[in-house]
Subunit: 348 residues, 2 copies
């Protein structure tokens, strides 16, 4: 099999959820963000495991993601939709018992018309200017919304990954100002906000990246490994080149292993020039030449034996290291995890 | 629905295949490369349409991709596997009638042992040092391989996208040298090699990116459109910021539209800082702030009406423009096309 194996450690994800739950202020509920296929880990298994651990509220990006999640969770756990109520979503919202986080007066009216008895929450914009009701719209709607008993009132921080950014305190003040006196449960923080401290937690936190041990949750337990089969190994003479564009030339006799993974599997093409490594029994070997669509080439000269497979994501090279090699953030690496991987969920 | 709609124009893909077929030397057969889910377009529909157009040979990266393709094609068309015969592939090769392109002496022995009566081809390394038999191994195996009547003998060019690169002529000479006197059909060129001219075509060409009108096939007909719903629109005062990290600040009163697409859908995070546009009725609007996981924000101040949806991939901004904004190549954009899109195949 040329398929790479993505091992998802559900026990680690559950432990990360538990750890983030412990970091939250007393009496704060901890939800779980499982959008984008649970950050590439597979929404069915990951969500089911988190529910088993005690999570009772889940967040996804769009109603379209709701069907698979509801199937995994069964009736009971609450599913919130960040994108709110889009045109055509009413059936999904009603049938799957989704809770849209209404972002605009239009979405509020749509909910009232198309799903008048369904539960809903409200997303407020506190300065990120991406999703949520503007303060002026909120001022107009607040009484009507409150009368309808919203399940949640939330906002989202733009700079939580930078604890010293002045924006954090500014959004906190705006959120407190906009929600003062409300009976509804309130939520402001994802993983970054949890790390900012109790005053950011309100009634509910919504960890996403932290469940998968991505930065900024540096104390998490790594949740995924990626093991890739070696297609073949060859020996190069000095002066021979490797890969597209002849970008790499052997300066000494070199042994090259070709691995069955490429950018079509979500390993960014840019990572090849950024110091990406592959590991055999813990020994680091540099990726050389360009990452191509289905393959990468690795200098394995230092190994005494030709490996049958190599690790690309492992404790020695967690997702955030790959992100750094590619000039991006761990979130993008997680959510690009490939469709050609075999996903394994070992018991733990 | 917050789902973006990816429209795949099968008629354009068929026309591109036909155009590339016409560019090939007389009596050269034109195959189709449909690995990585047919470059994100959806392997079932795309492969079936190409077979209808007359393609009889298809190429994929790994045997794991064979099941879906064989189902789409039915019996008859040949399916070649670039990755060759990996450990554990024998059942798939036999049951699905796949033709592995054997890359090493190990793979050749594996085929002889595990699928002795199955058809196979051979991939030769002519200097890219990524996949294929080395000249020394080929010298040893050539007679035995020839006696087993290989279905194809092929190699792959490392620098075909750069017509003036000396590597092209060098690989051509090596391939001719290694295959002289063979009875088996020979193949050297993918899209780039087709454009290099008749001497590179041998018996079979293997266009991939060109079918989807990606560079270097600049005369192709664009094959995909991506239309993205607008979640909400808001008006900003001077000095307000947008998105993660507050990277964009309004210099004038600005109207911002939030679109339901992000890097989890394969729109690279890096494209946001690279001049990415979104279009409403052909009018270009700049993406501003960071591309986030599920959303992008667009300055739509110039529009007279708030749009319900906007185009991200269209004739005004083909895939190669998005690649340029992200600092990568069109191949990576195609093969990252998201799993949350609704794929439509209008009759044409």
């Amino acid at each position: 099999m040329a398929q790479a194996t993505l091992t998802v450690k559900l026990g680690a994800i559950a432990a990360n959820w538990r750890a983030l739950d412990r970091m939250s202020a007393p009496r704060v509920e901890t939800a779980a963000v499982v959008k984008a296929n649970a950050y590439g880990t597979g929404i069915r298994r990951t969500a089911a495991r988190l529910a088993e651990e005690g999570a009772r509220k889940f967040f996804i990006a769009t109603a379209d993601e709701g069907a698979e999640l509801r199937q995994a969770l069964g009736d009971g756990p609450e599913i919130y939709v960040f994108g709110g109520h889009m045109r055509g979503d009413a059936t999904a919202i009603t049938d799957l018992d989704l809770i849209p986080l209404l972002n605009s007066p239009q979405q509020f009216r749509r909910q009232k018309e198309a799903a008048p008895t369904a539960r809903f929450g409200v997303q407020l914009d506190t300065g990120m200017n991406r999703l949520g009701l503007e303060p002026a719209d909120w001022a107009v709607l607040r009484d009507e919304v409150t009368a309808s008993n919203p399940a949640l009132v939330m906002s989202h921080l733009a700079c939580a990954d930078e604890p010293d950014h002045a924006m954090n305190a500014q959004q906190l003040a705006t959120f407190e100002d906009m929600t003062q006196g409300l009976q509804a449960p309130r939520s402001l923080s994802a993983t970054g906000g949890i790390l900012l401290g109790y005053e950011y937690h309100f009634d509910l936190t919504r960890p996403g990246i932290g469940l998968y041990a991505g930065a900024p949750f540096d104390d998490g337990t790594p949740a995924i490994d990626l093991e890739v089969p070696v297609v073949q190994v060859r020996d190069l003479d000095v002066g021979e080149t490797v890969g597209y564009g002849n970008t790499w030339t052997a300066q000494r006799p070199t042994r090259i292993a070709t691995l069955s993974i490429g950018y079509a599997d979500g390993l960014p093409r840019a990572s090849g020039a950024g110091g990406l490594l592959a590991f055999a029994d813990g020994q680091a070997c540099p990726v050389v030449g360009r990452v191509s669509m289905d393959l990468v080439t690795v200098d394995v000269t230092a190994l005494t034996e030709a490996p049958e497979s190599m690790s690309i994501i492992c404790d020695d090279q967690p997702v955030d290291d790959i992100a750094e090699a590619a000039g991006t953030i761990g979130y993008e690496i997680f959510t690009s995890l490939g469709r050609r991987y075999q996903r394994r969920y070992p018991a733990a």
